[in-house]
Structure formats: structure tokens, C-alpha cells
Symmetry: C2
Subunit: 414 residues, 2 copies
């Protein structure tokens, strides 16, 4: 087995090769990956079965086993995703700005790959193919470090992809998996700054925090979403209830699901009983502030609850005095992911959009729309909750950087 | 004196205010700063004198004292720089992309400030005004932490700027200086992730390395430039000599000055004696590889020399077999700042531009042109040598991030 340093060095060399691939080369390789994933589905399913059996032996939760499980349909859908990435426009080489300066130098600002991207993720084998396809399409090489529960599936998928790209003439080292899933390799990867340009963690809040705290490599934080909905004074309460119900219950395990409801004091008495009725349909637990407890029966909320991304059928509720308190609460307790106001007031809609310090700020719509596909990026490697480099859904452009090229004919600086 | 935590909290509150300032508000404040710097020049010069006297007592090098020294002309030029920043277009609020999606949501990608920017720099009082003006213009608040040798000057300049913006109705906390210049406050600042969004170090390689290694806040690395010039087989040797002479000697203390010369083996015998003659004019010390030593008298170069940014009248020289070796050498030993090829070959020019992994890649021109003004950014807060967020000269746009605003009328996710 290669050491991490060897994997890093190989990835760096590979990145100089992938950076120069033409669109046709990359798309041919991606189509070969999709075809191979389909052709090798019985091999992949067999390896996946080993992971599932082990997970069942270890008494792992059924929701997690479901995320781990592959089926022929799921492999088809992974392959389909790779083909969709092949069909996207190539970001590399785009000239973002070009001028001839007073000295006669032609100065072009060109989009280029980041180089080597490392991705640390949990037990979701689909991420293995998805992340490899996105990084290859954007001209990068990738080092994958998936969760130990999915190791057999990840090795099988990676091998399939490596063989496929090798057949189209691209080095296998463009896509590498760290097979040793001990905690030490994750820590070591976070220190591989000599070779790795950017580290993207994909997973729960604990994983993200650990990476941000320990990495010596630039990190793009993704995916932690303590998303709020603020029901303003005078809002359309039917619309507000529909949106809260959708944002909380349509898919509670995802990062753009709502976790906290803020209600203007003037509408609390009518709105809270209505929203409780709606949320009761799905058995949502309400954790309310003191004033909420006076209006509807619910669990008393702790301060910690307001900081929490439940990812479950639980919602925190707080009654606020006015929009300023709502905005201040969101900026303090939120994770700067996606937050919404439900309002009929033009002034408050504008205020909320300008003052809420989040990647996506909504007026009269569900937070569930924050997504690379919905936002027109074509694909998504994660949703950044930091401000540097990328914010919000990250597509192919967010896996690139720029370079200036300067063409002269002997110019010197006076 | 405020604690660092208090400074951070105040900066965060201020950043919510500066983010909402109109262009007029910001430009009025910047013009007031320029006027106040000029009006208060005797106060600033008096305080600067204290720094100079202390530096002289401490036997500090005259080059450093020169950078520390202010004169009426220098204050005028600092004020002029602030007025130039006032005259630049405001980056904030620009809609970078806007669509209406299939659900009827209007999705706009809007340029917004980063928030709180911290800048750690050395004993150059001009940076105090320059950095404050750039961060204010881009809607951010700033925490300045300058070198201890310039503390009296920095306090005087900061007080002048704070009073000026306060008079135009902007909180003084938009521009704060850390007055305690102990090593501890720098370390503490690097951990203030609760309040600071981005940390930009400006200074020598030691400062940058220390910040990158210790910071818990996202960092933009700036300014370390081990820049190369590669004289290709068949190049115009007169042009090559002019460019090397310019890039090495026109201003050796800056980051875009050349530090290393690579020469194709086929031209070494004619080119090296010629370049030695030119560099001798300025007393440049040549540190050559073994093969170079066989052609011209010079100091033998160590491997370490090829990694070194001399910032002085010293240059390392290596003879290479071909362009591939030159490119591999630059990518290994360089700092990914600015590198040039001198060539008549179209193929090699293209190869060099595509394969050299640097922020600015030149053909037939001096590396000295890498600069925010030359590249058309209007101003510059530093030159990024990392790939994330910003690469190359950083202007106002590089001090911003984006936010998605989504306007709906009740949309929920199906």
C-alpha cells in the first residue's frame, strides 16, 4: 500500500497532466467511467455487500445502512450523474478578463484547475464517483478519503474508475483513494500541504469542525446548515405554514432543511397553533422559547437548541420582538447557510436580504432550494458556508483558480 | 486598552454597518481621511519621529528605517493613494449572475463584503492607511496589527482616520489598530475566528509562514516571490539580458524581482558571460550550479539557494537540459508568484504558460510587472501566492465574497 506521502506526490504529478487535458479527453474519460460502473455493477454490488454485512454486524443505524447500500438502480443513477458532468461545459481555459496595457503587454486572466483536491467524507459510496467526476472534469487530480464503513465499495468503485480512465490514456493517479481508513491517515492528509492544494470535507458537523481545526491545508467548509425561517408581522400565514412545513419535513436529513422558526410577536398567537397542527402531521418535536410555551404545548428550548442542526423531525421556535431581533438571532446562532423571511413588507424583505449574513437569503420561499442544480451550476460538490473562495453551492467553477498570462516582446519595468 | 476579544466583537458589529454603506458614504469618508492625513501631518510626523529615534537607538538597519520614515511628501502621497481608492468603482452590490429558475424563483448572485479583515504587517506605516482605505471601500471593517517599530506612527495615523470617518457618520470601529504589539497579540489575533473572516499577512517570508502555520482563520498568503527567468534555446540574448538585468536590479527588495536564472545548455557559453557583465555593473553576486562554475567565475550555489528569495543583489543561476527541466525546477523550487520565459519558440511559449504553476507567467517580459495597478485592478492590498480565493494581485474585488438572494412568492420544494 502506498504511503500518504507517495499518494500526495503522485497526485501532484497527475495534476500537471490533468490540467492540460482537452475537453474531449476529459469527456471521453468520464463516459468511460460511466460505462465501466454499469458493466462492473455485479463486482461493485458484491463488494458493497461486504460493507453492508459488516455494518449490520456492528449494529449500525438503518438510516446509515441505507445511505451505504448500493443497488443496480443506484449504480445506474451514479453512472447517469457522471454522464451529466461530462455534458457540462468545461470551465478550464476561460479567459475571465484580457487587456493590453500601456506597455503593450497582453495580460489575460485565465481559469485553471486548483491542482490536487482532497476530499474527506463519510460512508456514502456515491460521493466517491461523484467527487472524482467533478474534480476530473475541472482538470484536477483527487485524493479521496471516505468513511471506513464503505471501504470495500469505495475500493471497488475507485478501481473501476481508474481502469476506465487508464484505458482512455489518463494516468490512474488522477483518482486515488486512501485505503487505510484509520484516524491517523485523515490527520496526516490534513498536513499534506506540500502536495494538496485544497481540502474539502463533506459530512456532518463533527467531521467539518475537526477538519477546520486541524488542517494545515486551505479548507472549504461545507454543508452545516442551521437554517432559519422568520415569519414576519403581517405575513401570509398560510404561505408561512406551507414553507415551514416543506423546509422542515420534506427531507429533514439535509443541510438546507429548516431547523429553527422565528415568529414575530404580533402573529404568534394565531400562527403558532396553526404551525403546530401542520408539524404534528409528521410528528415534529417543537422546542420552544418561554413565550412559545405560553401559547402552545411543547418542549422547552435550551440556548444550545438554537445553535443545533437537528437533521431530524425537531424544530426550535422563538418569538421575537421585531425583524432586527430576528436578523441578529440568525447572524448569531446560524451557520450562514440558508435563511428565509416570510413577509409582505417590501422594506423588511430588502432589509433581511441585505443584513442576514448567509450564503443564501430567501424571501417567501423554502430554504430547501439551496442546491447547485437549482442555482444553475449543473452539478455540486458541496455547499460552502465560509466566505473565502466559494460561498453557497460549489460547482465546477468553484473547483478552479486563475492564472495571469502575460505576453510581451521585451518589456522591462521603468 | 481594549482586549482582543473586544476589538473583534466591535469589528464584527462595525462590519454589519460598513456592509450597508452607500458608495457616496464610503467615498465621503475616504476623502475625509485624505484631508485629515494632510491636515494632521505635523502630529503624524512628530509621532513618527519617536519611532525613528527608537529605531536608531536600537541600531536598526538603515533600509528599514527608510521604510519607517515619514515625510510631508510621503504623507501627501499616502493621502493621494486614499483619494485614488475613493475614485475607484465600488465593487459591492454588483450582480454577478441573475436568473429566474423553473420554479419562478429569482436567484441573484451578489457581490458583498467579506466582513472583518485582519491585516498583520511589518514596520511600514503607509500600509496602515492603505489597508484601511481598501477595506473600507470594499465595505469591510479592519483590524490592523502593524510592526512594533512603527507603533507611534500607526496610532497617530489610525486616530486621524478614525476621527475623520466618525465626522462623516461612520463608526470608529470600522478601523481598529491593535496597540499592544507583543507577540502574544499576534497569536491571539490568529485565533479570533469567532469575529475575523479573513487574515492577510503582509511582509517577509518568516511572517507569512508563521501566520499560515498558526492561524485558525482563513488566510490569504501574500508576497513571497522566488521568481525565475528562463532563457530558452535560441532566444534573443540581448532581450534576455535586458530583462534579467531589469528584473534583478531595478528594485531588488520587492517580491516580483527575479531571484533565479535558468539557462538552456545550448546558449550558456555565450549568454552567461554576457549576463555576468551586465550584472557586474550593479555588483550582483551570482550563485551558480556546477556547470555554471565551468563557464563564469561565481559563488557555488547550494540547493537551499535555489529555494531562496534573496531580496538583494544576489541571483542563483542554473543550466538546464531543456524546457521541461526548467518548468519542473520552477514548479519545485519557486513560490508560484511570477516566472518568465525568454523565447522565440511559439511552442515553448505556450508550453511554459500552460505548465508553470504560478500566479503570473510571462513570455518575453520582466517579472517586475506583477502589480495590481499594471494588471488594471486600480489598487492592491498584496499579491496572493495561494490558489484559493485570490491568486496574483489582490484589488477590491478580492476583498469581497458573494451571497445568493432568492425572491419567491411561496415556492416550496417538491
Amino acid at each position: 500500500m502506498k504511503t500518504l506521502s507517495e499518494i500526495g506526490a503522485a497526485a501532484k504529478v497527475a495534476s500537471y497532466e490533468t490540467a492540460l487535458l482537452s475537453q474531449n479527453d476529459k469527456n471521453t474519460a468520464l463516459r468511460a467511467i460511466a460505462e465501466s460502473l454499469r458493466k462492473n455493477n455485479s463486482f461493485i454490488l458484491e463488494e458493497n455487500k461486504k460493507d453492508i454485512e459488516k455494518a449490520e454486524q456492528n449494529g449500525i443505524k438503518s438510516a446509515m445502512i441505507d445511505r451505504l447500500r448500493l443497488t443496480q438502480e443506484r449504480i445506474d443513477s451514479i453512472a447517469e450523474g457522471v454522464l451529466q458532468i461530462a455534458a457540462l461545459p468545461d470551465p478550464i481555459g476561460e479567459c475571465l478578463h484580457g487587456t493590453v496595457n500601456t506597455d503593450g503587454l497582453r495580460i489575460n486572466k485565465i481559469r485553471v484547475p486548483l491542482g490536487v483536491i482532497a476530499i474527506i467524507y463519510e460512508a456514502r459510496p456515491n460521493v466517491t464517483a461523484d467527487a472524482a467526476a467533478l474534480t476530473l472534469k475541472s482538470g484536477n487530480s483527487v485524493i479521496l478519503r471516505g468513511g471506513k464503513e464503505a471501504i470495500h465499495s469505495n475500493i471497488a468503485i475507485t478501481k473501476t474508475m481508474q481502469d476506465a480512465i487508464k484505458n482512455t490514456g489518463i494516468t490512474k493517479n488522477a483518482i486515488q483513494l486512501i485505503e487505510d481508513t484509520s484516524r491517523e491517515t485523515a490527520t496526516e492528509l490534513m498536513r499534506l500541504s506540500e502536495y494538496v492544494d485544497v481540502l474539502i470535507p463533506r459530512g456532518g458537523a463533527g467531521l467539518i469542525r475537526s477538519v477546520v481545526e486541524n488542517s494545515k491545508i486551505p479548507v472549504v467548509e461545507t454543508g452545516t446548515g442551521n437554517c432559519h425561517i422568520y415569519a414576519d408581522d403581517g405575513c401570509d400565514q398560510k404561505m408561512a405554514a406551507d414553507i415551514v412545513f416543506n423546509a422542515k419535513t420534506q427531507r429533514p436529513s439535509v443541510c438546507n432543511a429548516a431547523e429553527s422558526l422565528l415568529v414575530h410577536k404580533n402573529i404568534a398567537k394565531t400562527f403558532l397553533p396553526e404551525i403546530k397542527n401542520r408539524l404534528d402531521e409528521k410528528g415534529v418535536e417543537i422546542r420552544g422559547c418561554k413565550k412559545t410555551l405560553e401559547i402552545i404545548p411543547c418542549v422547552p428550548a435550551t440556548d444550545e437548541d438554537f445553535y443545533t442542526e437537528f437533521l431530524d423531525y425537531i424544530i426550535s421556535v422563538k418569538i421575537v420582538q421585531n425583524i432586527d431581533e430576528a436578523i441578529a438571532h440568525i447572524n448569531k446562532y446560524g451557520t450562514h447557510h440558508s435563511d428565509a423571511i416570510i413577509t409582505e413588507s417590501y422594506k423588511n424583505a430588502e432589509l433581511f436580504k441585505r443584513k442576514v449574513d448567509s450564503a443564501a437569503v430567501y424571501v417567501n420561499a423554502s430554504t430547501r432550494f439551496t442546491d447547485g442544480y437549482v442555482f444553475g451550476l449543473g452539478a455540486e460538490i458541496g455547499i460552502s458556508t465560509q466566505k473565502m473562495h466559494a460561498r453557497g453551492p460549489m460547482g465546477l467553477n468553484e473547483l478552479t483558480t486563475i492564472k495571469y498570462t502575460i505576453d510581451g516582446n521585451g518589456q522591462i519595468r521603468r
